[in-house]
């Protein structure tokens, strides 16, 4: 099955945050009330009860004074998902259409995934001691519906559909943005981390939207998963095996020198 993706267009989004509400509503998540900081950014990050937020970036721009750059932030459903690699319980799976799904029944709350994710998306839900994150509304999509956030988005900044078709559409859109006063307009998500099952049309470079420019899986996480986990552990059976061999050979050799019974070893 083709990859089904949610495309977000920052040039259309009005930051009404209806997607945040629709997500809460569909996933039956309680409100997560944060202290008022004197700005529009009500939530600085996703949390165990908040799968998506709209980032509000105020950025100086030589051409048009100040840009107010919005970016809807949630799980990126990476094709090569770091969360999936580190999870010792195999709680993460990929749907055949590209969503990264987390199974709370398997999760033990170790939070390895939180720190491995290049976007820091999976968050610990303290009341259950489990991780929670955006599901790409897999429960809706398998029933033929679009995700709740995409369905609710009034101006049409969120579009759900076939990834390849959306990439075609995004290319056209970025071309026209570039020709109309946004020379740095770009698409985010086609090649980042080997491809994200989430696309962004940005009116400027990703750093102006609070997104990592060239996201990479952390070196320490790669070292841990690619070297330590699969190979280093073999030293333990080697040590056990050597001890077992010694158990036998010491006794065989002690039998040979019957004059000097079990007490082998050095003189």
């Amino acid at each position: 099955m083709a990859n089904m993706t949610n495309l977000y267009d920052s040039s259309i989004c009005t930051a009404c945050r209806a997607c945040q509400v629709a997500c809460k509503n569909w996933n039956q998540l309680p409100a997560s009330i944060k202290p008022f900081k004197g700005n529009y950014q009500t939530h600085e990050d996703t949390d165990g009860d908040t799968y998506t937020i709209v980032l509000m970036n105020e950025v100086d721009n030589a051409a048009h004074g100040v840009d107010w750059n919005f970016a809807k932030f949630q799980c990126m459903h990476c094709f090569d998902a770091a969360c999936m690699k580190v999870c010792p319980k195999g709680a993460y799976t990929k749907t055949e259409w590209g969503a990264t799904i987390h199974d709370p029944d398997k999760c033990i709350g170790c939070q390895y995934c939180t720190y491995a994710c290049p976007f820091g998306v999976p968050k610990h839900r303290k009341r259950e001691d489990k991780i929670a994150k955006c599901t790409l509304c897999a429960d809706r999509v398998t029933e033929g519906l679009a995700p709740a956030c995409a369905t609710t988005c009034a101006p049409g900044a969120l579009r759900f559909g076939d990834r390849d078709e959306l990439i075609e559409y995004a290319r056209e859109r970025v071309k026209s943005l570039q020709a109309n006063g946004y020379p740095n307009a770009t698409i985010y998500g086609i090649n980042e981390l080997g491809g994200l099952n989430k696309l962004y049309i940005l009116t400027d470079t990703p750093d102006k939207f609070g997104l990592p420019v060239n996201p990479q899986t952390y070196g320490t996480i790669n070292f841990w998963q690619n070297w330590v986990q699969p190979y280093f552990g073999w030293l333990i059976p080697v040590a056990l095996g050597a001890s077992a061999v010694s158990f036998v050979t010491t006794r065989l050799m002690a039998d040979k020198h019957q004059d000097h019974p079990v007490e082998g070893g050095h003189e």
Binding site: K89, Y218, I221, W224, L235, L240, V245, T250
Partner: protein, 248 residues
Amino acid sequence: MQWLPEYRDDVPRVERFTWLARFTHWGHTVTFLLCLFTGLILFLDGVNWLAAIFGGYYGAGWVHRISALAMTALIGFGFVFGFKGVLVWIVDLLRFGFNDLKFLVLFPLEFFGFKVKVPPQTRFNGGEKGNSMITPFMVFLLMISGYIMWFPSYFPASWVRVAYPTHDIAMILSTVMVCMHGYLGSFHPGSGESFWGMWKGTVREDWAKHHHAVWYEETYGSMAGEKPKTILGLPVFEEYKSKPKDAE
């Protein structure tokens, strides 16, 4: 076939470890092994049958954490109340010298049961000196990284990401050492007698003379009366030069 060397109370014995040292050692052994088996469940990526022994994954997680706390408390306890013993131990490690190097070279042969002539050793032989440095250091790393993994939100995220491979590497190296160490300190015919030193506190006098000649002579033998050079009541670093008078 014989497993442990027989405990003989019909032969002269000498004290090797105090009650406090033995209590701490077996305490951290039990808690270390509990941490190891509960930790391996995750290291091996979800071993369900092993998890079931500890009441499932959450049960195992709590056994890991409670054992970790108990191990930390025991080591802290041994360190504080046996502080002088720890210093004596460290001073013995600082006596690492030529005889210890020779021991380490010959050790693989002795390990598999070949008869070798090992030079006289101090309280801890070359191998034990190595073990005394590597294993406690790895346990120290396990503790630091373990608490970071337990309470990640109190530490910078980059520390948490370093803690994961650190915890695993320290687990592997300490477990490798403990496998060999546990075997040498019990079923190995040559050094197995040391088990009774750790279990009952004493070892056979003739075994002590053979295996730890320097220690034996300085503590119980011909040099026992001689006051060793001390600073603050502790023996000072001095490379052992001549063979004690009546060691063979």
